[in-house]
Amino acid sequence: MNDHTNTSERPVKPKPRARSFFIALVLLALTFWAAIKVSFDISTFWEVWTNPIWSMFWPIPWDWVFTKENTFDPLIETLQIAITSTLVGCLLALPISFAMSSLTTPNKVIYFISKTVMNLVRAVPDLFWAKLLVTAIGIGAFAGAWSLTIFSLAVMVKLFSETVDAADPRPLEAARSSGARHLPAVKAGVLPTVFPSYVAYSLYIFELNIRASVVLGLVGAGGVGRVIETQRQFFRFDRILGLLIIIFGIVWVIEQISVSLRKRLV
C-alpha cells in the first residue's frame, strides 16, 4: 500500500510574491503617515465618555421642543422640501437613467454624455452642491429644495440605471420587431417591468431626503436643519437632541409606511 520512500517530489510552498509584500509595506507606511496627519489620538477613545459635554444633552427641554415655531413649522417645511425634491429629482432621473443604460439608450453619444455627466455630479459631495446653491440662490427652503433635488437625482440615477441594465431585454426585442420607434418601444417593452422598482426607489429616496434635511441645515438650507444649526451655534445640544428624537421618530414612521408600500409593489 503506502510506500514511504517517496519517489515524487513534494511541491514547494509558493513564495509570497515580492510585489504583494511591497504593496503591503507601502500601504502600512501610508497609514502611519495619514494617522500622524490627522493627529490620531488614542486617548480620545476613553476621554470621550467622561467629557462634560454630555451633560449639555440633558435634560431635554420638551416644552421648548413641542412648540409650533421651533418644531412644527420647520418640520412642515422639511416635509415640503422633501416632497418637492423627491418629485422633481426622480422625474428628471427617469429619462437620464434610460439614457445611461446600454439596454435602452437611443445612441452612443447620449450614452456617453449622460454617463460622464452623472459620474462628475456624483464625484462631488452633495453638501458641496448644496453650499454652492445656497450661495447662488440664497439661504432658505428654495435652495434646500434644489439641493435635495440634485441629491435625489443622483441617487435615483444610480439605483435605477442598474435596475434597467438588469431588465429582461426580450419584450424590448418584441417591440422593436414590430417596427416601433425607440421611445415607444422602451415605454412599452421595458418600463412596465422596471416601474415597480422605480416607485420603490422613490419612496426610499423620500425617506433619505427627510434625513438629509437635518444635515442640510448646516448650510442654511431651511427646514428643521436650520433650527438645528441655530441651536448648535448656541451649544444647546439638549434642544437639538429633542429635535433629533422627534425627527427620527417621524423618519421611523415614514419608513414603516414606505416598507409596507414597497412590499405591495413587488
Binding site: R170, S178, P184
Partner: protein
C-alpha cells in the same frame, strides 16, 4: 414575396451564422425551417426583419431591400412583419391587451402610445386579433397569470394585430408541451390559410414539421442543405441536415423536455 440572395451573416465574435444562402419564397407560403441548434435558423429569421444585420448579400421583402437599410425603412418592413418568439417575449407585469397593443406601436404616433392613448381602431384591431386566437376572455388578465400555450397565443395575437404580410415564428413551440404545441402550430397553419400571410416557422422536431409543413428548408452550419417539399424528405435528407442518422427521438416531441435555448448565436 421574399428574395434572399447570397446572404451571409458573421457575428462580431467571428461566428459565421449564415453562408451564402439563396431562398425565394412566394406570398402565402408556409415554410418550415429545421436544423441543429446553432445551424442558423434564428439568424435566418432575424435577418429578414433586420434585427440581425446581414454581412453581405441582398434581401428583398415585398420589393424593399433590407440589407443596409436605414432605420426608417427597417421600421416599415418590421411593421409589416410579425414575429413570434420561443420565450413569448411578453411584458409579464401588464395585461394581455397591453401586450397585444404592442403590435400597433408602429401605426400610432409616438406620443399616443407613450401616454397610453390608443385610438379606437387600434384597440379594435387588438381585440379582433385576440378573438381570432380564441383568448378574448383573458383580455384584461395579467400576462404572467396565463399558461405557456395561452402566452404564446398572446404573442400570436400581438403579431396579428400588426396586420402583417409576413409572419416569422422562431421555435414557437419549443417551450410548450406536445399537446399545446400542436394547438399553436394549428393556429399558425390556420392563419396562413385563412389570411394568406406568408409564414416561416423554425422547428426542432421533424414530426411537427411533417404534420404542419409543406415546404421544408434545412440548415446546417449556416449552409442551406435542403429546400423542397416535405414529403420528399427521407433518411438521406435527414443525414444532410442533422449530420447523423435519424433516431426515434428526433421524430417524436413526446419524449423530450422542451428546449430552452435562447437563440443568440443562431
Amino acid at each position: 414575396m421574399i428574395k434572399i440572395e447570397r446572404v451571409s451573416v458573421t457575428y462580431p465574435g467571428g461566428v459565421e451564422a449564415l453562408r451564402n444562402v439563396d431562398i425565394e419564397i412566394d406570398d402565402g407560403e408556409f415554410v418550415v425551417i429545421v436544423g441543429l441548434s446553432g445551424a442558423g435558423k434564428s439568424t435566418l429569421l432575424r435577418v429578414l426583419n433586420g434585427l440581425v444585420p446581414a454581412t453581405s448579400g441582398s434581401i428583398l421583402v415585398d420589393g424593399t431591400e433590407v440589407v443596409n437599410a436605414n432605420s426608417q425603412t427597417l421600421r416599415q418592413v418590421r411593421s409589416k412583419t410579425g414575429m413570434i418568439f420561443q420565450t413569448f417575449n411578453l411584458v409579464n407585469r401588464t395585461t394581455v391587451l397591453n401586450n397585444v397593443l404592442m403590435g400597433r406601436l408602429a401605426s400610432v404616433p409616438s406620443w399616443r402610445s407613450t401616454l397610453g392613448l390608443w385610438p379606437s381602431e387600434d384597440k379594435e384591431a387588438a381585440m379582433l386579433a385576440l378573438e381570432r386566437v380564441g383568448i378574448i376572455d383573458k383580455t384584461y388578465v395579467r400576462a404572467s397569470n396565463l399558461s405557456g400555450g395561452q402566452q404564446q397565443r398572446v404573442g400570436i395575437a400581438r403579431a396579428l394585430a400588426q396586420e402583417p404580410s409576413l409572419m416569422l415564428a422562431d421555435e414557437p413551440v419549443a417551450a410548450l408541451d406536445p399537446v399545446t404545441s400542436r394547438q399553436v402550430m394549428g393556429d399558425l397553419q390556420k392563419i396562413n390559410r385563412e389570411l394568406g400571410i406568408t409564414t416561416l416557422v423554425n422547428l426542432h422536431f421533424l414530426d411537427l414539421a411533417k404534420e404542419y409543413g409543406k415546404r421544408l428548408i434545412g440548415l446546417r452550419d449556416g449552409v442551406l442543405v435542403y429546400d423542397g417539399d416535405i414529403s420528399d424528405v427521407n433518411d438521406e435528407t435527414f443525414r444532410e441536415i442533422y449530420g447523423r442518422a435519424i433516431t426515434s427521438e428526433d421524430l417524436h416531441a413526446m419524449n423530450e423536455e422542451p428546449q430552452q435555448s435562447i437563440g443568440n448565436g443562431k
